[in-house]
Amino acid sequence: MTTPIRVVIAEDSAILRDGLVQLLVDRGFVVTEAVSDPDALRRSVERDCPDVAIVDIRMPPTFTDEGLRAAIDLRRVHSGLGILMFSQYIETRYATELLADNSAGVGYLLKDRVADVSEFVDALERVASGGTALDPEVVTQLLGASRRAGSISTLSPREKEVLSLMAEGRTNAAIAGDLTISEGAVERHVTNIFLKLDLPASQTDHRRILAVLRYLDS
């Protein structure tokens, strides 16, 4: 068995904090600490060096975006730390701010996603291992707000689906499973998308996602 992923949770709602701990422990994660404010999160990361932090965006003292600020600071110091932002709202501005430097090991999910336990655990594992996990809602907003709407409209419906899933941070295999098509078919769609959007073709999943996000955000 592989070593369990070590997680720190920063969430000010006691109900959700306890629920998350219960869920993660049940799924074999190690929860190093569950805290309720950004300062405690900073101390906890400093001390325990976890693999990934689940961070609520809205936390005391001002209940605006303390969590996001703390997460951005933490990533500067601990480059290996995965950050999964966790919020009841999706703000495109937060997403672009979070992805500004580097999308490796970054996630941004609606809190509702914990209801689908396996997908949530999947996303967390992806972020912990340096991948990306963006909420479908984030991707929709990014697509909607993108100034490249013109070239995106040249994509076929299927290609748009693949693009969305790619932006969420899914691997080819996961996309294939989701759309019940073969991995080869996904590959072909991806190649087409990159051609149509005039993006440099890239081999690794991560670089592809980065390219797509940069594209949408520019």
Binding site: D12, S13, I15, L16, D18, G19, L20, Q22, L23, D26, R58, F63, Q88, K111, D112, V114, A115, D116, V117, S118
Partner: protein
């Protein structure tokens, strides 16, 4: 027959006599004289400025420069008004608030237009113009009366021949008027008595003119009544807008931290239970049952929270009137609370809602802070007003504060009440008891 005066009347008469006898020697009397001495040249200068600029402005009115001159005149009138205010404050101690500050719209044309429409400027100009005859009258009255008083008092020392060469009283009392018996002696005594009379009359004559001036300054140099009302309405509106924004923010926070979090946790537990049930090979029914039990409890808590929140937005009991809603509040209060209701007409919903939330908040305060053993709520109609009184026998010391989260506290309540032109009075001495009176118009 002896007239027995009631005691308070006697005291009052004594006071008046005292005031009359002291008047010529008080500071106020001399301040008022000084006010005219200083005011006269100021009035003359101010009038000269306005007359010149207005004359130039009107004669050039067809050209642009004419309008600019007029505007200059109005701006100047405001400044002159400021000087008059300062003089009144410095010499008379008359505190007149500044009118609303002049706010020019951008650009020269905007400035011109705003200036020509500046009510305070025009009013100051009116004062500067009226001030001239007023100062003239004041000067005349003051110096005529004071000078004659001096003349008459010193008359016996001057000899009969020099009497009445100067002064108005000569016109009122022609020589020989008092000459009965020994004409020269009686004449002298009469004129001396007249001097004494004038000495005590003089302060009041001056005071009368100053009084007129005070009235004029208050109405023309101060903020005008409409502007004051508009400002208070603007303030009330701003507070209402702030309060409703704060209320929305509070509701959003309550939903976010409460119900929404509850539901997410609930969905998460059900999600875990579902996946455990799907995994038929390692099915642990006890674990699943535990999750479902937690979820069930969470759902019930969420329902309770949601109900409380909904009631905080608008209590359903209020739909049928204040009576039911208030009796529920009184009954639910942790401290024994007596409720008295006398309402003939039903207030408008907005007023009912404000009254309800006042009582709710005040009773909550009583329960939390007052250490009281009893509380009472009376809600009675007085004509077109609704008076709500909340009393407790607790420790007192309740006072509004702008600090912290008091937007929902006493300050918030008082803002809400004043927004509908109501009154909010707190009587809460340090040792208690506390009485809070809220007056609301029946129809807002």
């Amino acid at each position: 027959m002896v007239i027995v005066l009631p005691e308070d009347l006697e005291i009052r008469i004594r006071r008046i006599a005292h005031a009359i006898l002291r008047a010529p020697f008080t500071k106020q009397t001399w301040s008022e004289l000084l006010f005219f001495v200083v005011g006269a040249p100021l009035a003359a200068l101010g009038f000269a400025f306005i007359a010149l600029t207005m004359a130039a402005g009107v004669s050039l009115a067809v050209t642009f420069i004419g309008l600019a001159m007029l505007a200059l005149s109005i701006r100047g009138a405001r400044k002159i008004g400021g000087i008059h205010r300062a003089v009144a404050r410095g010499i008379l101690g008359e505190q007149i608030d500044e009118p609303d500050p002049f706010v020019a719209r951008p650009g020269f044309l905007g400035w011109l237009q705003s200036t020509l429409r500046d009510r305070a400027g025009w009013r100051a100009m009116a004062y500067a113009v009226i001030k001239v005859p007023l100062v003239f009258v004041g000067f005349f009255v003051a110096f005529a009366v004071w000078f004659d008083a001096f003349e008459f008092l010193t008359y016996p020392l001057q000899g009969a021949d020099s009497a009445g060469e100067i002064g108005v009283v000569r016109v009122l009392f022609p020589p020989g008027f008092f000459s009965v018996g020994d004409p020269r002696f009686l004449h002298g005594v009469a004129i001396f008595c007249g001097g004494v009379f004038l000495l005590f009359l003089a302060p009041w004559a001056v005071r009368a003119v100053v009084y007129v001036d005070r009235l004029l300054m208050r109405s023309l140099l101060g903020p005008d009544a409409v502007a004051v009302r508009v400002r208070s309405l603007e303030l009330a509106r701003a507070q209402t807008v702030d309060a409703s924004a704060a209320t929305l923010r509070r509701i959003e926070r309550d939903l976010h931290d409460g119900t929404q979090a509850q539901l997410v946790a609930l969905a998460m537990r059900l999600g875990m239970a579902k996946e455990k049930l799907d995994d038929a090979d390692h099915l642990d029914l006890d674990q699943v049952r535990e999750l479902v039990v937690d979820a069930h409890r969470g759902a019930k808590e969420a329902i309770t929270e949601l109900r409380d929140l909904a009631r905080g937005i608008h209590p359903p009991a209020l739909d049928t009137g204040l009576e039911g809603a208030l009796s529920t509040l009184a009954a639910r209060n942790t401290i024994p609370t007596e409720l008295t209701l006398e309402l003939k007409d039903r207030p408008t919903p907005a007023i009912e809602s404000i009254a309800y939330f006042c009582v709710a908040e005040l009773l909550a305060n009583v329960a939390q802070h007052a250490h009281a053993s009893r509380a009472s709520v009376t809600c009675a109609q007085h004509g077109r007003w609704l008076r709500v009184v909340v009393r407790d026998d607790g420790v007192g010391g309740a006072r509004p504060s702008r600090l912290g989260s008091s937007s929902s506290g006493l300050t918030g309540l008082s803002d809400r009440v004043r927004a509908v032109d109501g009154r909010f009075d707190i009587t809460s001495p340090p040792d208690g008891p506390t009485t809070i009176t809220v007056d609301l118009p029946l129809h807002a």
